[in-house]
Point group: C2
């Protein structure tokens, strides 16, 4: 094993487009907020290199893999054996209590956000309506734009200065987390607070973004904070919580949090569970299905309770809506065989427009990242310009519309309306008339959706208004998403989709029995499937949003067509963002060419593996820790030390545990195996759960360097292994299915004097993109 | 490797309760329909033995594991490399076409079944009503009982004589199949036909069973038959279908089939997908989510189209119902905080009664299996007695009820009714009166559910009627399930549950605003969760069944409570049946004590592994195949034949491929490695997909015995392996997550002269029950 003892050169550096290699030091000294998106992550060379940097939120961070595997070392085994029945019950009770709390808090915060948004936006709109009623159009414009500007300024300032990770939807990072990539500062208390306040500001400012994505992130933050018992600095050191100080349980909790978030956003408990299952989670088991279902049930009950309270008018301007957000159950759905034609058209349109949206958004985000790179001021200015543009459009465009007289069949309190919400907005029109575009634009996004989904109103909108609405929201949907405020993608997509859906309904009018409002619903669903590529969860979310079960068969057809069409052009929007951010996401299916490569060949292009001896010198451990960035090392009993005279693999040790052993000065004068009680006197299982350890903080004296450490008690004796002859495809399936962090590669046979382990593979090594830079010819096979 | 070359004693025998070991021969000669349920599967000894027998349907069969792993041998790799883009597209097109066909056919057959049942049962009831109107009660009784008797006789005779696997619901076997256990004759054409006809007979006979379980089985059969292009004997040898001649694709298709079945049964497309996901499938991936969703969408469209046709009266007595089966959307759901009390009570009751039902049904099934053991006649008689008892109860008990005058608020055509279906049945009452018990009992099961779910009818039933209804269906639910006809569990459970639910609603009457019909719905949901332990899928199925989204929050609470309470007593009914049938089902989670055992220890108590040389003598292959029942053998290149002088693991070869090589006389005169073209001249990849090969059918001459076979081209070079030091818990997770059939155990180090593989583990070796018979002390830890 002498060949492994040398220091290893890390190829962490990010190389420029021009191909000039920058020095490592330089790369590290860079502004951590600067953005490497325009640069390839890897230079082509014959060494498989890895890049631990990714864009987390709006900030470039070092990322690390998570340990979802159970670390079966001596200490864990002892703890496992000694766990009493009471402790097991404690653990189960805790798990369910946490799931309950996640649901409860997410529900409460979601209600709070809704209340705040509805009240802020409501009073804003009431004031604007007041100005307009007095014909003070300029004052109304200034008031409207000014308030929106200030709200955006606040939200953006918070995101830029205090928590850059709070910008955006957060869903891609949660997806990556559940795939096994830890993203720092993503689930902290600061992020949570900024996300809540920023989301209120951004949505109340009338920007074309939703609170849905942020709510998912908020749910995940709550789950993470609860699981670790507080913030990074102020944790409750409660004994019961110690069982949750591991990545596995945190993962499950965050899944519950994400489901609760979706449930709170759409008031869709089943949809929330399915969203997590279909889109967010990488690993799933039926116990989790049940627990997320519990969390979302709690959210649903909390929401219902608040709606009950608010219906009696105690929530200010908060609406009097029920549990169903965009109820379209009032129409009976009648359709015939011929209605398949518009349904198919909507599906195809959804797929085409969805993939086009993905493509364009990708371009816009690349441009934005170039702008954002220049510093905080640029970020802020970008957000404010978008806010200004949005406000101007929302206020001015309705003036283009001519006033339409209300249909005589409508009662007076329905048309026109002048309040905070309501259909048929009067705006600048004389009494008895309404302004179509004001109905769609000068309102909150939720109300805009409600108005465009409105059923039994076949003559409310003209084509021109719907066209303007659709075009405007296409532009806004593209330019708003990337700005530095918490922003969700769902609502912009629903708005866009409902636009062309209703337009199609209007055109199909005489030839179909399907209501225009339902056409809008189908359009929204189709664009969602075309862009996000979800099927079952979108279907259930729309079912729960609109409360019309009879729509189900046609919704399903629309979704399937839209997804199929979209998939033939580009990946889903979340996958595009994940890739853009450089997060090492392991896909579910290996690429076909991975069958033509063995892990042995992959290991060959990596630097030689660094193994440690079962009883290792302190000096060597310090040297290895300082000179590498690896997080796991194989532990091998040397040939001379085993009874058989053959080197024997003992297991895998984590960097954190090595540092822990050094920190606690677990040193031996001579090379010997220790007894279990010796270790247990010095370490508990809880000590080893700590991940926040830095080798630079550990002081080892010169004398101590000559001592030994018995690594056996800390070594995970049951690492997963593959033979060198296995194909990368199979290795990847193993790695992903079992949620591994390290995978040891064994030789097909062990010749005398040879090491029993020839390599170690991590997530980065199995990414198709990384492999292809070393084996470019594979792609063609 | 000399120690592995000996023959191995198979410990297949089933031992008696009395502990007397029976001879193997005797066990095999036994009536294959006899039932070993009352006997333990294993005798306590220090050798880990396996039992390849299980009760499939109502028949004891040899079962085999499935190969879900991709067999990466030379032939496969060549085929993989040579697959053109067109072929890949063919494959994808085929896959979707099959999913479409599965949905289409399942939808059509489900409609056919429904039509047949509604017409047969409808005319039966009309005739009975005719007799009663003429006061010819005895004639009515004889007619009613006689028809039911004949229908049951037909259904039972078919099941007993032609397809014993068609009896029961089939869901446990599908669950086992998707877990990786092949059950013979389960998905054949004969089973399908008997299941369809038998199900029509049994349900039309008014037995307390549903068509839901059988429809799931029918969907699976259709999927399997389509995937293999016909029946076992008459297959379409279509080139395009050759890609589907493997267990992986068959598994995916059967998942689609099961989802389609549930969708067809409940007209619940989303519920169908979730049922497969939550209850039936073991492996899941998002591509499958999408495909099952597609299948169920097709079913939904087919059903809707037929309902459209039938609404115009072209389907005889087939009802005029819509897509929603038990619509309760007519009531507005209002509930308050205090309503949490009855909801919690229903949940707890559901859990208690559900687990009690599971417990009692287990006992009844054990008794039934003792009866059924005695032969076909006993099976038939048992079915007929149950049918007689059911008919007598359904006809006679309504006479106990006093006639109730119709409420004046009800129009005359609603109360009383006298037709095939309808609420408020007149039966023996004077005009203007109805018979409560006849309304609930003397009708089809579907109509009984509809009547007990009926909303806005708070005074329709008295406690006594509901109590009698509940008690009767408890008895019928217990005694009906195990008889030899196709029978589903869903409907009996819904009937029982709705009984106590409505009863509770009646008692709570003045204290709650929830409608009695909704109480019945909640009761049914609670018992389903209490017995079957599903949550999300039951929730969605009930949503789709009843079309009342506002019920969602309380349904969720009821389900969660019922499942929690039930789980604290016993496992779900399907798990109980799986265990009863002796199917080797691998659970999702390893037992805690499995962490204290290594696979090395497990391998030690197994007979030594039998390995083959890379180039092996024909005589030895024949000997090994004849003397063992193993289905996979490690292939090792002997120490003398490798360049390094160390024995090297080449991979794993399947029995089927060995037999294939012998059958095609792939013999060599001398010991040499063959070239790829030599193999490809003789074998194609398709040849190796064949599983139906028997060593007894292969004739090898005495001269050929001395020749050699080069096993390398057939060997799967990438088997999954574990080190001997890994814990059984981790090995089991690996085995299950990757859907393995064989797992090789490697030594931690390979001493010179030692074999590179020390054991092979299969599904049977990892079953908790089997391990505990050898290591009984582990359970206590």
């Amino acid at each position: 094993m002498g060949d492994n003892s040398g220091t290893r050169e890390e190829t962490v550096a990010i190389h420029c487009l021009e191909g000039e290699a920058e020095a490592e030091a330089e790369a590290e000294e860079r502004d951590p907020e600067s953005n490497p998106l325009n640069e390839p992550l890897l230079k082509r060379n014959r060494t498989l290199s890895t890049n631990p940097l990714a864009l987390v939120g709006a900030k470039v961070s070092y990322i690390e893999s998570l340990d979802y595997e159970i670390n079966e070392n001596d200490l864990f085994k002892h703890d496992w054996r000694s766990r009493s029945k009471v402790q097991v019950l404690q653990y189960i009770f805790c798990k369910w209590s946490l799931a309950f709390l996640v649901g409860l808090l997410t529900g409460l915060i979601a209600t709070l956000i809704n209340l705040a948004i509805e009240n802020i936006a409501g009073y804003k709109i009431l004031a604007v309506v007041g100005f307009i009623e007095e014909d003070r159009y300029l004052a109304g414009f200034l008031y409207f734009t000014g308030i929106n500007f200030l709200l955006t300024f606040g939200a953006s300032l918070l995101c830029v200065c205090f928590a850059p990770t709070a910008a955006g939807p957060g869903i891609p990072e949660i997806k990556a987390y559940l795939n096994g990539v830890d993203t720092p500062d993503m689930y902290g208390a600061r992020t949570l607070i900024v996300k809540i306040v920023g989301s209120i500001g951004a949505v109340a400012a009338g920007l074309d973004l939703g609170k849905e994505g942020p709510l998912v992130h908020i749910g995940a933050c709550i789950a993470s904070l609860l699981g670790q018992g507080g913030t990074e600095k102020h944790r409750i050191k409660w004994r019961w919580l110690r069982y949750f100080n591991n990545d596995r349980d945190r993962r499950d909790l965050i899944t519950c949090g994400a489901s609760s978030g979706v449930c709170a956003a759409f008031r869709a408990p089943v949809g929330g569970v399915l969203f997590s299952l279909e889109e967010v989670a990488t690993w799933w088991r039926s116990a989790l299905l049940w627990r997320t279902f519990f969390s979302t049930a709690v959210v649903a009950v909390v929401l219902r309770a608040f709606i009950e309270v608010c219906n009696s008018g105690k929530c200010g301007l908060f609406g009097t809506g029920g549990l169903v957000m965009f109820d379209v159950s009032s129409v009976t759905v009648r359709y015939h065989v011929m209605d398949i034609i518009p349904v198919v058209i909507i599906g195809i349109l959804g797929g085409l427009l969805g993939s086009l949206y993905n493509y364009l958004l990708h371009k816009v985000l690349r441009v934005y990242s170039l702008i954002n790179q220049n510093g905080k001021m640029h970020k802020l200015l970008l957000s404010l310009s978008v806010a200004l543009f949005t406000s101007v459009c929302q206020y001015c465009i309705p003036f283009l519309s001519t006033c339409v007289p209300c249909a005589t069949s409508l009662p007076e309190d329905v048309c026109p309306t002048n309040g905070r919400s309501g259909n048929f907005k009067q705006f600048n029109c004389p009494s008895g008339h309404y302004n179509e575009l004001a109905t769609l634009l000068l309102t909150t996004n939720d109300d805009a959706v409600r108005n465009i989904f409105s059923t039994n109103t076949p003559h409310e909108y003209h084509s021109s208004s719907l066209l303007i609405f659709f075009a405007l929201y296409c532009i806004l949907g593209l330019i708003t998403f990337g700005i530095a405020v918490p922003s969700g993608l769902f609502l912009p997509i629903i708005l866009m989709g409902s636009g062309y859906g209703r337009l199609l309904g209007l055109w199909m009018g005489p030839h179909t029995k399907i209501d225009q409002g339902l056409f809008a619903v189908l359009g929204a669903a189709s664009l969602m499937a075309g862009s996000m590529r979800m099927t079952v969860s979108v279907c259930v979310i729309f079912l729960e949003l609109t409360n019309n079960l009879l729509l189900l068969p046609i919704t399903m057809i629309v979704l399937l067509i839209a997804k199929t069409v979209g998939d033939s052009f580009n990946p889903s929007i979340y996958e595009i963002i994940l890739h853009l951010k450089g997060l090492p996401f392991l896909d579910a299916n290996p690429e076909p060419w991975m069958r033509n490569l063995t892990v042995g060949e992959l290991v060959d292009v990596k630097p030689p593996v660094i193994t440690l001896n079962g009883i290792e010198k302190v000096a060597r451990i310090v040297e290895v820790l300082k000179n590498t960035t690896h997080n796991g090392f194989p532990v091998v009993d040397e040939a001379g030390e085993t009874s058989t005279g053959v080197a024997k693999l003992h297991g895998l040790i984590l960097r954190a545990h090595l540092v822990g052993a050094l920190k606690k000065k677990w040193f031996l004068k001579e090379k010997r195996r220790t007894e279990e009680w010796e270790v247990r006197e010095k370490f508990t299982w809880v000590d080893l759960a700590d991940r926040e350890v830095n080798i630079e903080e550990v002081a080892v004296t010169r004398e101590e360097m000559e001592l030994f450490v018995d690594l056996h008690p800390f070594t995970n004796m049951t690492p997963f292994t593959v033979l060198e002859s296995i194909s990368v495809a199979k290795a990847m399936v193993l790695f992903r299915q079992l949620a591994l962090r390290h995978m040891l590669v064994l030789p097909n046979y062990q010749a005398p004097g040879q090491s029993p382990v020839i390599g170690i593979l991590t997530r980065q090594d199995l990414l198709a993109h990384n492999i292809l830079t070393v084996f470019p010819h594979l792609e063609k096979t």
